[in-house]
């Protein structure tokens, strides 16, 4: 089946948006980490995500062939043009919130990229191949922190439980298929994300139990990121992230 390259471009952009937004939220811990070692480790994960965003954006720019660049995608688009999942844009919160989000995202992203390795699109498959190796390490770290904090002190347990509860309604969006997801999945290029849900729930529930946490009830959910309908947090984040290019257009290092 031949598919409009414009659609593949949109698909690459949304995956780039996911990566840059989560990467930026993680990068906010740089010099704010709980101790030096963890500060460096978190920043490494942030760099992995920002590197992944660059690869997706560069590929999108190549497909668009309209003068767009990785930088114009990251720094010159407004909130409504961003197509990232909402969970990634939420403020970093405390360390428990950051690690809970990271764990839920790592479980999802590893399964997602493992599936994307089989993409009929060679570039997306190659990006996924690199991401899988990074993702296995990310998951090893965040899983470890779930157990440490959940089964740690009363305070770390309560903070982590609160974080998981606050995040839970945002996880439904991981598995929501919109038209583009469906087209990409049908063409063998993208991932059938709905098919990842059962495995994700099983693994996450097992981890929460090991970490002595309750699995929250799925009694609320929020979506909208794939349509450009965001929480109030993304605008604040972008105003910070895009400040230099907005204030000094074309500025170079």
């Amino acid at each position: 089946m031949s598919i409009d390259r414009n659609l593949i471009k949109d698909y690459a952009i949304r995956l780039g948006d996911d990566s840059v937004v989560l990467g930026h939220r993680l990068s906010e811990w740089c010099r704010n980490g709980p101790f030096l070692e963890e500060d460096l480790a978190l920043t490494n994960v942030a760099l992995d995500y920002i590197g992944r965003a660059r690869m997706f954006y560069c590929y999108a720019a190549q497909l668009a062939d309209d003068g767009s660049t990785e930088d114009s995608y990251a720094y010159l688009r407004d909130c409504r043009d961003y197509r990232n999942l909402l969970i990634y844009e939420l403020p970093r919160g405390d360390f428990a919130f950051t690690m809970a989000r990271q764990y839920l995202a790592d479980e999802y992203n590893l399964a997602f990229t493992e599936a994307l390795v089989g993409s009929a699109d060679e570039t997306l498959a190659a990006i996924a191949d690199k991401a899988v190796k990074e993702g296995r390490y990310h998951l090893r770290r965040s899983l470890d922190w779930m157990l440490r904090l959940g089964d740690g002190t009363e305070e770390s347990h309560d903070r982590l439980q609160r974080a998981v509860d606050d995040l839970w309604g945002y996880t439904a969006e991981f598995f929501a298929m919109d038209q583009l997801d469906q087209q990409m999945s049908d063409a063998g290029i993208g991932v059938d994300v709905a098919g990842l849900e059962a495995g994700w729930r099983e693994r996450v529930s097992a981890t929460l139990m090991d970490a002595t946490l309750d699995v929250p009830k799925a009694d609320w959910s929020v979506t909208g990121g794939r349509e450009g309908i965001h929480t109030e947090s993304l605008g604040h984040m972008l105003s910070d992230m895009q400040f230099m290019q907005r204030a000094y257009p074309g500025l170079k290092w």
């Binding site: 030096l36 070692e37 460096l40 480790a41 390490y137 470890d144």
Partner: protein, 94 residues
Amino acid sequence: MSHHMRLFEVFIRSRRGLDHKHVGSLHAEDPQQALEYARDIYTRRSEGISIWVVDSADIVASQETDCESFYDPHDDKPYRHASHYQLPDEVNNM
């Protein structure tokens, strides 16, 4: 938090066939976490292919006051050095 954490010494083997070399130290809660932090702190720029972490408390170190009895007696024993031995051309890497 960090004042409760254990100190570990980190050793990295840069490539196959070479020895692990001491590169520095770090704080962590346990050996497994120390290994992960060592990966993040000391191998970011492809410095290594193998890591050892050792609890710093397990290292027994010689002291400054040992110098006189440990090392000074070697000074007048030149026959222990291979300085008069002509190395054949065929031998590399000595």
